[in-house]
Symmetry: C2
Subunit: 297 residues, 2 copies
């Protein structure tokens, strides 16, 4: 695929994800405020990087990416719940997210907690109710089990706790990587892994795609840290320099800014190498990888 | 079964649930504080009424109740997460639960939120990873889908939101029942439904067992409201009279205390009638039903 085709493909998939999310929200019965609070953060935009990774992986394996939409929506719901809870006053106490007031600023703290709980729970429902012979019941169960592992007490939540406990401390590079491998890495890796499961990857392909996702996840986080120093506030939609103000451990603080940029480049190259070794139609995945390295928000 | 046998059976099942919960907690890798926060509330005691309903339903259908232990543990984890989040300062702001300081009082608000998130997520993992031929993959998926429905934005969370939104308002009996059917009823009903699925109930038996659970759930809540007026503080482990102080709609407020007691009795009798119509070995379930009607904490 040429670059223009790849961009068209990814834009089309992003629209499909957003339509899928809207459909899942529209069918919900129950208190209207809850639904609005869930939808507010879910529809606040964002790059949809996790769903796109998932769908591009399905496509890279020669399958219809639409097969991955329910799991892609579930992944985005879990990502969104984690942002809502992270922004709470007792956590990061953020007022802005993607340039808009955070969920609790609009709906209040109690509703924000419940909207997060509801998104997390609904995500599992969406996978369990898949009714498509091309994804067998045992594969659906694997998709659920691995999602819970990636998001739960040994995954994303563990990373969030380690991050909280590391605040104000001097961390080693290994400790910083533990935090990022869990807080953001596990869900990015799950997205690729779920795509591989749905796409029917071989064991060898699965291994290479997971290594791809691991390096991509670390690159993603390093870029985040660099953006906190170099990014323009209006682009990233939140205050820059907040890491330094909060005395947070970051890659630039540990490695210098130049060192962080070099490490970012190494992880991107390693990711691309593993992607080539997976022997898939990896054009869209390679493109996402370069986007992550160069993104300005 | 005689009463003594039933009591022995239920005590044994309660121990089995608690051992199962301990085992699931012990195997967790990750930040120690998170695990302690999760275990603190999970091991804080409680009647384990949901797991017992589930296991007694499996047993009533002539199957080995141990088959139901992973789902029973999952149900208790979800119940526990809901208590942790409900007690938060921005929600009910409770300092005591079962006579002990609430989770956020011990571990702080951020950790309490994360411990709840982790318990909710881990619950789904436990069902997805069941590896027992007697519970087929399609049944495991149904167990997950229905659990998410019972706990999520159309179930327990919807009830919690409706409860919040009803505070300080005069509610009709129908509005009050909506709250309870969702806030506590859905998860009680799921417990019986999951037991029926695992035990291989017929469609007819499922219908009767669900009606049983519906009446039991309402009885449970009415008893709760009565206890808030009549209960002894040291027995229920939290402040009595808090509903009236918080200006909450309750059955006694709507029906008078005598009317609430009569309605409680009607729901218990209806529950027992549906249980008989289910034509199962319902001695332990009938006993739980009477316990609910008479419980003093």
């Amino acid at each position: 695929m040429e670059q223009r085709e790849i961009e068209q493909f990814l834009n089309g998939q992003k629209r499909a994800v957003e339509e899928t999310l809207s459909r899942y929200m529209a069918r919900l019965r129950g208190p209207e405020t809850l639904r609005r609070a869930m939808a507010y953060s879910l529809e606040a935009g964002g790059k949809r990087i996790r769903p796109l990774l998932l769908l591009a992986t399905v496509q890279a394996l020669g399958k219809d990416p639409a097969l991955g939409l329910p799991v892609a929506a579930a992944v985005e719901m879990i990502h969104t719940y984690s942002l809502i809870h992270d922004d709470l006053p007792s956590m990061d106490n953020d007022d802005l997210r993607r340039g808009k007031p955070t969920n609790h600023k609009v709906f209040g703290e109690a509703m924000a907690i419940l909207a997060g709980d509801a998104l997390l729970t609904y995500a599992f429902q969406l996978i369990a109710e898949i009714d498509d012979d091309r994804i067998s019941p045992p594969v659906r169960l694997q998709l659920i089990e691995q999602l819970a592992q990636a998001a739960g007490p040994e995954g994303m939540v563990a990373g969030q706790v380690a991050d909280m406990e590391g605040e104000g401390k001097t961390l080693s590079l290994a400790e910083l990587e533990y935090i990022h491998r869990h807080k953001t890495g596990k869900m990015l890796q799950y997205s690729v892994r779920a795509g591989a499961l749905i796409g029917g990857a071989s064991t060898e392909q699965q291994r290479e795609l997971e290594a791809f996702a691991d390096h991509l996840g670390l690159a993603f986080q390093i870029r985040d840290d660099i953006l906190d120093i170099e990014g323009a506030e209006e682009k990233i939609g939140k205050r820059v320099g907040s890491d330094r103000d909060n005395n947070k451990a970051t890659y630039p603080a540990l490695l210098t800014l130049a060192g962080a940029k070099q490490t970012l480049r190494v992880h991107i190259e390693e990711a691309q190498r593993h992607l080539r070794q997976a022997k898939v139609n990896g054009a869209a995945l390679a493109y996402i990888c370069e986007l992550v390295a160069a993104r300005d928000h």
